[in-house]
Symmetry: C2
Subunit: 118 residues, 2 copies
DNA sequence: AAATAACATATGTTTTTTCGTATGTGTTTT
DNA sequence: AAAACACATACGAAAAAACATATGTTATTT
């Protein structure tokens, strides 16, 4: 049930929602749930469910700030897995282009937070 | 339905049988179905079904020789995907170790072919 | 303290994958 | 030509994954 196997690692990436979450977080270093719902245009429970899975498999760590929860990639994941994520990001910019547009539309923090799930 | 998207690529790798098939073929350059059934210790229809999926998504190509069909990685897959496979192989040798033992137990071709699915 | 915002999770359902088994196709052997 | 071999595929069942919706939790605001 952990991320120690290669197969489980690829399963984590083998879903549209999860892959976009990972690529966006790697790009922005840190994102909260409400930012991801806006970026992906998906419901909050759907985002939360996939995040829970990525957290379970030790790919994401959380940092709570008030009522927000920020997620980032954990830094102890195997080096080769980091490289796979990096490769995916560099070579699939158009895949998350619309998400980035949506995210930028929120402005920067703390402006972005004001627009969070309004 | 092709392999043009990153998600579909990762789905191809997100299964124990398919990942082992890909890693073994990359390691041996070329393998036939009966060699894979011995290496993985799985039924022939199961191997064939997964190979059909990998072929459908343009990851494997076939070469027919008599009653054998040899598969290899197609050479036109995106460079970053090749690198992902290469990284997976280098960093997961223990994952396919038993499969390699089973394969080596068949000897070399054509000795290996004589033992094929006897 | 009531209301609200951000997020997590539980539940039942639908969809997608995977599977075993049986059968079909083409090739080589006898 | 019949039998054996290597492989592909069809079919229904079983398992796994993803889903929408509702509700729970915690922190902030008023």
């Amino acid at each position: 049930m952990n991320n120690s196997t290669a197969v489980q690692f690829f399963k984590n990436l083998a879903d549209d929602t999860r892959l976009k979450i990972i690529l966006l977080i790697q790009m922005e270093r840190e994102l909260c749930v409400c930012e991801l719902t806006v970026a992906l245009g998906l419901s909050q429970p759907k985002i939360s469910r996939h995040i829970a899975q990525l957290k379970l498999h030790k790919l994401l760590s959380e940092r709570k700030v008030g009522r927000w929860v920020f997620y980032r990639l954990v830094d102890v994941i195997p080096q080769w897995q980091k490289e796979v994520i990096e490769l995916s990001n560099v070579n699939n910019q158009e895949y998350i282009a619309q998400c980035v547009v949506n995210l930028m539309g929120m402005g920067n923090r703390p402006t972005r937070q004001e627009k969070c799930c309004e």
